[in-house]
Amino acid sequence: MISQEQLIVSLVLGLVLMLAMTAGAGVFTFFERKIAGWTQGRYGPNRAGPKGYLQFLADGIKFALKEDVIQDYVVKPVYVIAPGLMMIPALVLYAALPIGKPFVWNGNEVHLQIVQANVGVLYLLAVASIAVYGIVFGAWASNSRYPFFGGVRASAQMISYELAMGLSIISVVLLTSEPGINALSISNIVAGQTGYWFGFIPRWNLFANPVAFFVFLVCMFAETNRLPFDLAEAEQELVGGYHTEYSAMKFASFMLSEYVNMITMSMVMVTLFVGGWHFPGIEAIRSQAIQVLLSIGAFGIKVLFFCFLFLWVRWTLPRFRYDQLMHLGWKALLPVALASALGTAIAIALRV
């Protein structure tokens, strides 16, 4: 039974994170364009507001006021719910992620986590696996060729990379597993990364198994349909891919959910591989309040780094060809992830 304090924290956290994610996605679109400009040696948006910082508000207002065109040839019920189906997984995925150090309040231990599922890792995988439906239904319901190609590509791609992603997560679960500890619970995974090797290297899974980290990094890009894996919406080949026929707020929710997905995948990455809220030296801080605040800050900074990585890669690498994408997923990442899981298991069996 959860305590009253935990309930209050969960509810507040749910509200705050929901607002922060949607607002953050809006700001993220702005920074994407700004960083694109920076990478390519141009200004980027600089007209709306001081130095262009109100650009995302202007974009939002534009989307809200535009005419919402629904073509005659679309399959209307599916067409209308598809953007919502895209939004839901993006906005429930982070519910199982701890964003700060657990603390004691009125004698009860409180986790900075909306839901404490004891199958947390499987929850992440399950929600990530239904994220593809928004794209597939949107593409099919548009009843038009280019979106359809985009949807078929997206479903093949996301299924292929889910396998490698799941296998790389198995390495993490194996690294966490100890007798008497539920290694599927995400707070235990983060707690397992809090120690040090030789007194100064943090026991983050990134250092324990860098192979799984890189596999997850690549799959992260593929699962969010970002360059170099954005074949589902390759604008040079497919006009706009699965959201070609969408306009106004429906298109905006497709786009926003892509950015929310990027933030949540960064959060998952940080939680599973980069130690979550842990940072070196956190044990030296005496005050609990400062410790918790700094842990939240550390989590945020790590997440921002991976968000930046998404943009960095996007404006650096060109798009893969489709056969290269499938080759990488099935012939390179899957065996490597399998070997890394096997290697981790052997290492653990030899140590214990």
């Binding site: 599916v78 599922a117 004891n118 199958v119 499987l122 929850y123 995988l125 399950a126 929600v127 990530a128 696996s129 239904i130 593809v132 439906y133 597939v136 239904f137 099919w140 359809f148 949807g151 078929v152 479903s155 093949a156 996301m158 299924i159 889910e162 539920n182 599927l184």
Partner: protein
Amino acid sequence: MSLVIFIMFGCVAVGCALAMVFARNPVYGAIALIVCLAALAGEYLLLDAPLLAAFQILVYAGAIMVLYLFVIMLLNVRREEGCRWCTDWRTYLGFALAGLIGISFLFKASNVAHPAPPAGFHVYDVTGVAYTMFTDPTLLFVIEALGVLLLMSVVGAIYLGRRFSAEEESLLKRGEPEASKGKGAPDDVPCGEAAP
């Protein structure tokens, strides 16, 4: 409260299962099946089996149904022709059997004795499931056999779906009549043979 949610999930599951059977458009049928599977996952969750619920979503709703949809969309399966209610005798047979099973459940459900799990042992979490799976030798054998069966089907699928190499292609063509050879591009003719 949880009983109310349980009944709601049950109604959704049954309704979607019926909708799947009666949908004329295969994509609508697939959507109904996805919702049905998700509602079943909700039922598992309410029955204190979060592991099963997660696997239900992960495997069935998340992977298998995506493949189903992929195939339906790729092959562009058309709407079924014909009227909605003029079904043949198999449908009625199916309903009769489902009704029989339902009635037998109604009679039986009230006096089934649930075996109590050993003390301090949660059957439904990961440890419990793993313990049951890897300690019961017959169960272990069944699971291993299923694994081999799946491997065999994968190998078969790869064999059927692979692209033949040029050498095998020419071996296959040797049995065909001479006329079909002439249609290929000139490069296709093996060196030793004269072009017809």
